[in-house]
Symmetry: none
Subunit: 241 residues, 2 copies
């Protein structure tokens, strides 16, 4: 689980407690407000997972090893470009990813602003908690509890997912970090080929990041595409006579 | 929903907020600790349902009009005499009761002791939140959120089709013919960049065709990728000096 820029130490504590309640143990925190983060971490009775939480400067870094990144929050304000899963439909998708040997991150934004447009561009899909339109915004600790409950719910309500097979390696999903690497090389290639004007570069970078996630590339695909673009780039930069 | 002897004003507020989030409106409070109860009720931004909550001296009085009373909490300490429902199995039972014209109460005990043996004697059944045995006890506000989420969950559990964006064109799938056109241009680019030896070309063509279909590209994606590869190809064939 990843908390982006959490502010309130009570909320951080509540999120950690919900994780412990539902048997989750890996917490990452991105760019926390330091005094509050220290306070939450040193609180009496703070669970081990909070003390052992990993701190990152950026969301890209926090999720670089993950194959499926799930964003949370109300999406009424923006028009997201990813598929939106109602929370009750999330567990099968996450289960499939884990069964295939993938790693999943569920990302929560700050209490005040939720996830930014930039944060969302690292997400493969968004999950929506089915709250009342009159009062859609949930408290952070409660939103975490509800999402994690949903993820473990199916394991108590339905048969367990079969273990990963030997075919896993060939079809394993690409990690977020590999996709970022690929995006970087494609962007360099675009520039070397004079594909897009400079003013479009930020928008193209954003679109490319979303596109690469939507395609659900395997790590094998990513390796091949990376190889192709590196070769193209090399050729563009050293034209043969 | 019924809170029995709640102590912490923050928890009372959080419970009320979860009710508002999930569209519940009738709150009863039994024998609250008066100063804290007043504080919670007069807090800035307290939802209407908290201001309008009904206060009772006893649980018996609070649930007197209900046809199904559901008790919550960990039951490890006691040997309950009622049936215990895992939380994921609660909604159908509650739904049946409501469909038959009944009234249902879900009862939460105080943060410190949960429901007493006396309280439990007013419950038709008990519900158990499937928490980790290592950390079974949930925060009151979070327990309320999870239980109420479960009750509304089934009404939204059908998968939603990803939101239709304004332009259907942008999200329509690429035709097979367009994918073949794209594959042709990518293959030409591979050759121009010297990416793969000639003996691999048939195999690569086959893999590429499969890959482009697996990615479920939209016609918009296809157009953009085609544009990029055409630009690259043009540059590779006419290197700038």
């Amino acid at each position: 689980m990843v908390l982006v820029s959490p502010r309130n130490p009570l909320n951080i504590g509540a999120a950690a407690r919900a994780m412990a309640n539902f048997g989750f143990s890996r917490l990452s925190v991105v760019a926390p407000f330091e005094p509050n983060w220290r306070e939450a971490r040193s609180a009496i009775g703070a669970p081990d997972l909070l003390v052992n939480a990993v701190e990152s400067a950026t969301l890209a870094e926090a999720v670089s090893g993950c194959t499926l990144v799930v964003g949370t929050g109300t999406v009424t304000r923006r028009k997201p470009e990813q598929p939106i899963f109602p929370l009750p439909c999330l567990a099968p998708r996450v289960g499939r990813e884990l069964a295939g040997g993938g790693r999943v991150a569920v990302v929560f934004g700050s209490e005040k602003h939720g996830l930014t447009r930039e944060d969302l561009s690292y997400c493969h899909l968004l999950v929506e908690i089915p709250t009342d339109p009159q009062q859609p915004s949930m408290n952070l600790g409660q939103a975490v509890a509800v999402c994690l409950y949903e993820l473990i719910r199916s394991s108590v309500a339905t048969p367990k997912i079969p273990p990963a097979t030997s075919a896993t390696l060939a079809t394993s999903s690409a990690t977020s970090g590999r996709l970022d690497l690929l995006a970087g090389v494609i962007e360099e290639t675009m520039q070397a080929a004079g594909y897009s004007p400079r003013v479009m570069q930020a928008a193209n970078r954003h679109d490319l990041r979303l596109l690469l996630r939507r395609l659900m590339l395997t790590s094998h695909d990513t390796r091949r595409i990376l190889g192709l673009f590196r070769r193209i780039l090399w050729r563009l930069n050293r034209p043969v006579r």
